[in-house]
């Protein structure tokens, strides 16, 4: 045990190991922060995005920090709600009829056009007849008639999807046409007004509306095609990657070592059986088997993890450990242990395994990135736990929606950078440990 501690102390002579340790520490802190601030059940619910939780987010929005690196002011999402501005609404009673005029005002001061405009409406009395006219007023005093029509109890008006309006705006999308003056390529800055003049034939009726002008940047991580905040998957990706990578690496290395030791000690049939299983396993292509398990049986992250460990245990590593244990078995101290009457189990656990543990540490650390990337690879192919948000899953979504082709680079780059940082952290530490604990390499 003391040799291990001495080896670990030596780590500080390796700058790469210190960088690796710093990265791992950062990931651990990030994971703990994530698990505390966004509880798992919350993350799952948010990532599923039921009940239109994300309706106020723009689609394909870049992270907010993009704004810091450009002289332009990038468009943020503007939400104007009539419930928050009591002065916005005027109600006039005309006998049995009621007229409701809502004026929503907002300042638009950005250097680029928004991506979408949508109006959400809530009417008080279900089943009543309500008709409304929608107007748009620009800072330079123009008044554009948008549409006229009836309003249902819970209604929305996707202004950007209004094809009649698009024709009237000269073929421009509403979120461009309504914000531009003439053929100008830049949006017109200033105070905009959105006016609804509604008439209902029920005197008790009331109307509340919420106008959302979707921007191009959102949050610290941006959003995806379903308006979901990528922050959730980026943050939750860290604990998942760490847990998967560490458990798979620990499980594989520890079990491989144990099985190799048992085979070497008991020889004969046991050893032969272990070797034959390994040979059969080598003929099976790992990734293909994993994809089949994911597609046919279960996509639960635990089932995948279990399969990864089982396939990993009987891999090429078992031959390496076997060769090491064959040398250990012939050592005099094992003979001494036998002489005082130690039995198989005791010799394997108390005498053979501890001997190899220093070799195990670097092997285990270097294996972690391989498993982190294996999980990402599977997720990238669409084989991942349906409820757990991970980095690989973001990449899968991005790839299947052609993110690179459409220019949504942030969508691909941020999860990839997190993945490679994780991989590098463990791998740098592992390489340094390898040089410390493998005396043959130290001479080099």
């Amino acid at each position: 045990m003391s040799s291990i501690l001495r080896g670990l102390k030596e780590l500080k002579n390796y700058p790469s190991a210190m960088v690796g340790l710093a990265i791992i520490a950062f990931l651990v802190v990030l994971s703990i922060y994530t698990v505390i601030t966004i509880p798992y059940s919350e993350a799952v619910k948010l990532w599923r995005g039921a009940d239109q939780i994300w309706i106020e987010n723009p689609r394909f929005a870049r992270p907010v920090f993009f704004d810091w690196f450009t002289p332009k002011k990038l468009a943020r999402t503007i939400i104007v709600d009539s419930r928050n501005n009591p002065n916005a609404k005027i109600v006039n009673q005309y006998g049995e009829d009621v007229e409701i005029i809502i004026t929503l005002e907002f300042d638009f001061l950005y250097d680029e056009f928004p991506t979408e405009i949508t109006l959400f409406m809530n009417k008080k009395i279900p089943g009543s007849d309500m008709y409304a006219t929608f107007y748009w007023e620009t800072p330079d005093g123009r008044r554009i008639n948008l549409r006229r029509g009836s309003i249902k109890t819970r209604d929305s008006y996707e202004i950007s999807q209004d094809t009649a309006l698009r024709r009237r705006l000269g073929g421009k999308d509403a979120h461009v046409g309504l914000f531009s003056a003439g053929d100008n390529k830049k949006p017109l800055k200033g105070k905009y007004r959105f006016v609804i003049e509604a008439v209902s034939f029920d005197p008790e009726d009331d109307l509340d509306v919420r106008l959302i002008v979707y921007g191009t940047i959102h949050g610290i991580a941006g959003t995806d095609h379903l308006r979901r905040d990528l922050k959730i998957a980026l943050f939750w990706g860290a604990p998942i990657a760490l847990i998967f990578g560490l458990l798979a690496a620990v499980g594989t290395t520890a079990l491989t070592m144990l099985i190799a030791a048992i085979g070497v000690w008991y020889r004969g049939v046991v050893d032969g059986l272990i070797q034959r299983i390994t040979e059969v396993r080598m003929i099976l292509p790992t990734l293909v088997i994993l994809i089949m398990v994911g597609m046919f049986y279960s996509r639960s992250i635990w089932v995948i993890l279990g399969t990864v460990v089982v396939l990993g245990v009987f891999g090429s590593g078992i031959k390496v450990y076997r060769a090491m244990f064959l040398q250990v078995r012939e050592m005099p101290y094992i003979e001494a242990a036998q002489a005082y009457g130690a039995r198989g189990g005791r010799i394997v656990f108390k005498y053979m395994l501890p001997r190899i543990i220093p070799m195990l540490i670097p092997a285990f650390v270097t294996e972690v990135p391989a498993f982190v990337f294996l999980e990402a690879t599977l997720a990238f192919l669409g084989i991942s736990d349906p409820v757990v948000p991970t980095w690989g899953k973001i990449l899968y979504d991005a790839q299947s929606k052609g993110a690179l082709y459409m220019g949504h680079y942030y969508w691909v780059v941020i999860p990839s950078v997190l993945l490679i940082i994780t991989g590098l952290g463990f791998s740098m530490l592992g390489f340094a440990l390898d040089r410390i604990f493998n005396p043959r390499l130290r001479r080099m």
Binding site: V280, L284, L404, Y405, S416, I420, S427, M444
Partner: protein, 368 residues
């Protein structure tokens, strides 16, 4: 003379016996491995239930358009439908239990009688599994062989170069860069596409040739080369640092041997020392690891081909799995298993004959 002939003959006999044992063990391994694949690919028989319910549905649909069926009583209808289903089950061999059929599949798979696919068809419209797999083998081989040959020779050259300059700047650089190999090729592929296709727009996003493909053979070749650049480069990025690092260490160990010192003392040129005294003893191990990784990578190309939309075998296997097409999955795996087993065996034979240090035991393995 006579004595030498005797030892030669006994040696030959021993080698032959050793290989017979090896071949038998390999055959049994292959048998079990392929059987496991068959079990997994058929979900232990559950795929059969899917097929059966599909047949029932098809029979039901067919009966709806049947004039006679309409005038039958409900009892007759059931009997008639059942009869038709039974005929269909028999036609696909589904009337026998899965256990028996699994051994039939095993026999067919091992004799490379790969049969017909369930759902997939080849690009020419055939249902033959052999065609479905073979037509995709060439693109995969083009991609894999190109990247691996470049990887092999460049890593070997760099490693030799670095082993001569131990501790130099480049040597330290390779040690620092080695951890980059933690990421797989497809991962670098994404970055390369981002830089060279999306931002710089100088190379294609993916695919194997331009659409529509050029008629002229020369232009076809140029287009293929253009499409090869990014995937090959991503394989290189993900493997070259670690391969160089490993082989450099390996060469360093071997260049500390006494006979190398001896050669140096004799005043041989460093090129000759490298060729005769360092490369020669290390080559077998390097070639083995290279040949094995070539074959295993061949199956691992699924993701790389997905990223680059490369029409290779990896994509096809993925399609087969997502379509529950067991015959294609089994077919691809059988070919893979045969390739792997044959390579291992051939390498074994070559070393046992060529390398005088390999000790041949009739029952054990080759020990170096």
């Amino acid at each position: 003379m006579e004595e030498m002939g005797m030892t030669l003959a006994s040696n030959l006999k021993r080698i032959l016996k050793y290989f017979l044992v090896r071949i038998i063990i390999m055959a049994i391994t292959l048998l079990i491995g392929v059987y496991v694949v068959i079990l997994v690919a058929n979900m232990g028989g559950a795929v059969d239930e899917i097929r059966k319910s599909e047949i029932r549905e098809a029979v039901g649909r067919r009966l709806l358009g049947d004039e006679n069926y309409r005038i039958m009583s409900s009892e007759e209808r059931q009997k008639y439908a059942k009869m038709l289903e039974e005929i269909e089950f028999k036609r696909f061999g589904l009337d026998q239990p899965f256990l028996i059929r699994s051994f039939l599949y095993l026999k067919q798979a091992l004799t490379l009688d790969l049969g017909n696919a369930e759902r997939l068809t080849s690009d020419t419209g055939s249902r033959k599994v052999k065609l479905i797999i073979l037509e995709r083998l060439v693109p995969t081989l083009v991609l894999m062989m190109t990247s691996f040959l470049i990887l092999f020779f460049s890593a070997l050259t760099f490693a030799l170069f670095l082993s001569r300059r131990y501790g130099s700047f480049f040597d330290k650089m390779i040690i620092a860069l080695a951890p980059l190999s933690a990421a797989p090729a497809w991962f670098y592929g994404i970055f390369l596409i981002l830089i060279f296709a999306a931002i710089l727009k100088i190379l294609p996003f993916g695919g194997m040739v331009r659409v529509p493909p050029p008629d002229n053979a020369f232009e076809y070749f140029l287009s293929l080369l253009r499409h090869l650049v990014l995937p090959v480069f991503s394989v290189l990025l993900s493997s070259i640092f670690i391969s160089t690092y490993n082989w450099r260490t390996y060469f360093l160990i071997y260049s500390n041997e006494d006979y190398v010192e001896m050669a140096k003392a004799k005043g041989l040129s460093s090129a000759m020392i490298e060729r005769r005294y360092i490369l020669r003893p290390t080559m077998p191990a390097i070639v083995t690891s290279f040949a094995l990784s070539l074959i295993t990578q061949w199956m691992g190309s699924i993701t790389l081909e997905t990223v680059f939309n490369w029409p290779g075998l990896g994509r096809r296997i993925y399609e087969a799995i997502s379509n529950f097409d067991s015959p294609v999955i089994v077919g691809a795996n059988v070919i893979y298993a045969y390739l792997l087993a044959t390579t291992v065996l051939v390498l074994d034979v070559i070393y046992a004959i060529l390398d005088p240090r390999v000790r041949v035991e009739a029952t054990g393995g080759v020990e170096q």
